[in-house]
């Protein structure tokens, strides 16, 4: 049933009217899942909105929202929107300088934050963000001795709101009625692989168009359960935990803490799941580690049946013909391995799972589908409210992101860049008409910056960022992310950074995964004294060399990419970290920045040296600075020739 309402607050009131008694949200608190019905949520939002209004917050202002996924923070979105104001979620783990920029750029006067940690950050920033007046906090723990001006607890604000509501009973309803589809509903700051973050302004109309499209596409109804665990400042979470829930009327579950997500997921058993590839990767890494620790017979069973699943699991999911023998084996495997494994992953009830935000390696994607989990890819950006392409349930190819969603038009520019026209298009970049003009063509297409093409079946295939795709000196195509993703599929490799544009060969930085490699080292009776030491071990180099040679073998099979095999690599002495600006907040590698920061290492890779000394500055979460020093060895790889492969 299509629900009426042009703006999110209107949708909320409509849900409260037609399904007021159904559960809208849950949060695990003190070990017990607490729930709120749609009617209760509508009341909470009403009081919060009135409370904010009583403090002078009104149309035209922006409300910063900072914290983990908490019901009250989600209500703050609706409350701000009810007043015609704009919620601006910030990444809660952002360091102060990043927050300072956004607070100033968005002209924030009011902020609603989760706890003491965020309050401390804002108080530290306040002298440099003079507009910031009022800070509201949800969790009162540790806040007793704070007497700074402008601080107020959520509970107090809620009380003030109830008073205000009693005094002005018509205020909220009138305010919601006056919200319009064309109003800006949310401002999401892009992580920005280059330059300073920009505030992407979406209207109610564009977010609701995206959500309606998604809900219609997969037939989501009020019975879906989702777990909201992704950063609230990410478009993916906003669409999935807020916009879609508001359109479809399903239940959003907030985990107890960011560390308990896996446990909470098992308890809730979501029917619909969304995560960037990284999350799926982490889950697989954990599974792999635990399988490696299991008894030999279990290990053998796992490997045997995963082989069966790889052979026929995806075919069964997509309804293609499979031999009787394989069907029987798969059924047995389902009983012994797949179903218990799905249960451990909390994916027993999943109808649809999506991944997006970055390219997913085919191997990783295949793993989940072969288990019978309907994992699909979607494609979109913050600017298009992540609503461009989605794979359909039946027909799924590994290496494409699917067909355009209803209402979306795609064309490919001459340089291979994907251009998109969608009803979910951003209104503008906040206060950046120049950037807005730059990224939208005169005929109304958004320039995605991704290189790709539409294949014979009408599916969109993304290769890489348009500006990253390069060529080696001999003209071979070089798609760095493509190779990096292949490397990262190995559980031992956490990050990889490839270089090669306009040079004679491809070289790579590798980041080992401490958990996975540490576990491996333990089993080899290899002692080590921390990350730097482990990363430099000869044995670890041999381990990684094996992974790299696998990737080279894979590349050798593709005549276009055979020349872009990794010729030399080194293992970095520190983990790439968003705090050091090496990754974006959504954990994409910032290749250019890394190349500059580790210039001596890049030079060494290309000059043929076998080792290079480096001293690196690291920033801790509290802003302090330290140094890590190490001498890194460089490993040469012998190229795999396609000819030898054939033989």
């Amino acid at each position: 049933m299509e629900i009426r309402g042009e703006t999110f607050p209107q949708l909320l009131l409509e849900h409260a009217r037609i399904r007021g008694g159904r559960t809208a949200m849950r949060e695990k608190y003190l070990g017990i899942w607490q729930s709120w019905t749609w009617a209760q949520v509508a009341d909470e939002v009403r009081w919060l909105a009135c409370g904010l209004a009583s403090q002078g917050f009104s149309r035209g202002m922006n409300l910063a929202i900072i914290g983990d996924n908490r019901p009250r923070l989600y209500w703050a979105f609706a409350a701000a929107q009810s007043l015609g104001a704009v919620p601006v979620p910030l990444y809660q783990d952002a360091i102060t300088s990043e927050m300072e920029f956004v607070l100033n750029d968005a002209e924030i006067a009011d902020a609603l934050v989760e706890d003491q940690e965020q309050v401390d950050k804002l108080l530290e920033i306040r002298p440099r963000a003079p507009r910031l007046q009022r800070i509201y906090y949800d969790d009162t723990r540790g806040m007793r001795d704070y007497d700074q001006a402008g601080l107020m607890s959520y509970d107090r604000l809620r009380e003030l709101g109830r008073d205000y509501d009693r005094a002005h009973p018509e205020f909220f309803a009138q305010s919601v009625a006056s919200t319009q589809a064309g109003d800006v509903s949310v401002m999401l700051y892009t992580s920005g692989t280059t330059g300073k973050p920009k505030g992407v302004c979406h209207t109610h109309a564009s977010m609701i168009a995206a959500a309606r499209g998604d809900v219609g596409f997969d037939g989501f109804g009020e019975n879906e359960e989702v777990l909201s665990y992704l950063p609230m400042a990410w478009v993916g979470d906003h669409l999935f935990s807020y916009a879609q829930a508001m359109v479809a009327g399903f239940t959003v579950n907030c985990p107890e803490s960011s560390e308990t997500v896996m446990i909470d997921m098992r308890e809730i058993g979501p029917t619909y799941y969304f995560g960037p590839p990284r999350v799926f990767e982490n889950l697989l890494t954990q599974v792999t580690i635990r399988v490696d620790d299991a008894a030999r017979i279990k290990r053998a069973m796992y490997h045997y049946f995963m082989g069966v699943a790889r052979r026929c699991g995806a075919d069964l999911l997509e309804g293609r013909a499979v031999s009787i023998k394989d069907r029987l084996l798969y059924a047995l495997g389902s009983f012994l391995i797949y179903a218990p494994l799905r249960n451990v992953l909390g994916m027993s009830r999943i109808r649809v799972a999506y991944t997006g935000g970055a390219a997913i390696s085919p191997e990783l994607y295949g793993f989940y589908r072969s288990l019978g989990i309907n994992l699909k890819q979607l494609y979109g950006q913050t600017e298009t409210a992540a609503y461009v392409c989605k794979q359909t349930s039946g027909q799924t190819k590994l290496d494409v992101v699917g067909r355009p969603m209803p209402g979306v038009e795609i064309k490919i520019a001459d340089n291979g860049e994907v251009l998109v026209k969608t009803p979910s298009m951003l209104k503008e970049y906040y206060k950046r008409p120049d950037a807005t003009a730059e990224s939208i063509t005169p005929d109304g297409y958004f320039m995605t910056g991704d290189a790709g093409y539409i294949d014979g079946d009408g599916d969109l295939k993304i290769i890489d960022r348009a500006k990253d795709v390069g060529r080696l000196a001999d003209g071979t195509l070089f798609a760095p992310q493509f190779i990096e993703n292949k490397l990262k599929f190995f559980p031992h490799i956490k990050e990889a950074v490839c270089f090669g544009d306009k040079t004679d060969r491809v070289c790579a930085f590798i980041n080992i995964d401490l958990q996975s490699v540490g576990n491996w080292a333990e089993k080899q009776n290899l002692s080590y004294g921390g990350y730097v030491d482990l990363a430099g071990k000869t044995e670890v180099y041999a381990l990684i060399e094996h992974c790299v040679s696998q990737v080279n073998l894979d590349l050798a099979r593709d005549p276009q990419l055979a020349g872009s095999q990794v010729k030399r690599f080194l293992i970095l002495h520190k983990e790439l970290d968003a705090d050091d600006d090496e990754l974006t907040r959504t954990r994409k590698v910032r290749r250019g920045f890394i190349a500059e920061k580790y210039a001596p290492l890049v030079t060494a890779l290309y000059s043929g040296q076998s080792a290079q000394h480096i001293k690196t500055q690291v920033k801790f979460e509290d802003g302090r600075v330290g140094y890590i020093e190490a001498t890194l060895r460089i490993k040469d790889m012998s190229p795999v020739s396609p000819a030898r492969q054939a033989a």
């Binding site: 695990k28 608190y29 003190l30 070990g31 017990i32 723990r141 540790g142 007793r144 001795d145 107890e256 803490s257 560390e259 308990t260 446990i263």
Partner: protein, 263 residues
């Protein structure tokens, strides 16, 4: 952290002229110290100075050969451990003393044992008052889990946890008894920097949120000087210094004890 804002009250625990000997070994000789309500009191000293012995005397594990312990106005020559516990003194141990095979939750529930009043039969049948009581205890324990941010390991057997977390669970177990005075025996021994920071944070929060008086033994001087309101220094079983961190820092006898003197 604003120590000045906490209301430090009157003396809650007073140890007078304690001597303790094991055969010919004199662990403590005529030591007196007092602890005020809501304060964080550190006991420091070189190895074998008698710090742990002091804690053991306070909560009755050791019986002093001379001297008395006054807790909340009641003077005793001998304290028994269970008396100390019922009166509101809880402690953690230098070597973690948890039930390794039991989950974190169950370990914390053991901290509530003294507060369980329901009869044996009704507990067995999980019926009537026992049921109500269990719910209350569980709620209290969940509050502590929330407080110490150990939700993710609620059901993990303690033996499988890393050392730093076990220490945190042990603190939780002591907190579960809702003590007035908390004795911490080297809560940060063997931890890395990050774990130490977390533990410091928790100790301050316990002191601040619950108003718990804390007596702690610690070797990390940075931690001691940052955390404590007053410090007492023991050496060879004798008290050689007592005062604020600043005073202790300037105390010649303490400097000599730590750095040694030329003879």
């Amino acid at each position: 952290m604003s120590a000045s804002k906490r209301r430090i009250g009157d003396v809650i625990l007073k140890v007078e002229n304690i001597s303790l000997a094991f055969g010919g070994v004199k662990a403590l000789t005529d030591v007196s110290l007092d602890v005020r309500q809501h304060e964080i009191r550190a006991i420091i000293g070189p190895n074998g100075a008698g710090k742990s012995s002091m804690l053991n005397v306070i909560n009755g594990v050791y019986q002093p050969t001379a001297g008395s312990v006054t807790f909340k106005g009641v003077k005793r020559h001998q304290v028994r451990p269970h008396e100390a516990a019922t009166q509101g003194i809880a402690r953690t141990f230098q070597n973690i003393a948890l039930f390794k095979g039991m989950s974190v939750l169950d370990n914390l529930m053991t901290g509530r044992t003294l507060k369980m009043k329901a009869g044996f039969l009704s507990q067995c049948l999980y019926f009537g008052p026992a049921l109500k009581e269990e719910l209350e205890h569980r709620r209290k324990v969940e509050e502590i889990i929330d407080f110490l941010q150990i939700e993710s390991i609620r059901k993990t057997p303690v033996g499988r946890l890393p050392y730093g977390l076990q220490k945190r669970v042990e603190l939780g177990r002591a907190l579960a008894a809702e003590p007035e005075v908390l004795l911490l025996d080297e809560p940060m021994a063997g931890m890395n920097v990050e774990e130490k920071q977390d533990m410091c944070r928790f100790i301050l929060d316990v002191n601040d949120e619950f108003g718990t008086t804390i007596v702690l033994i610690e070797h990390d001087m940075g931690v001691v000087m940052d955390l404590s309101d007053r410090v007492v220094v023991l050496d060879y079983g004798r008290k050689i210094g007592d005062g604020t961190p600043a005073e202790i820092r300037g105390n010649q006898a303490v400097i000599d004890a730590y750095l040694g003197v030329k003879h």
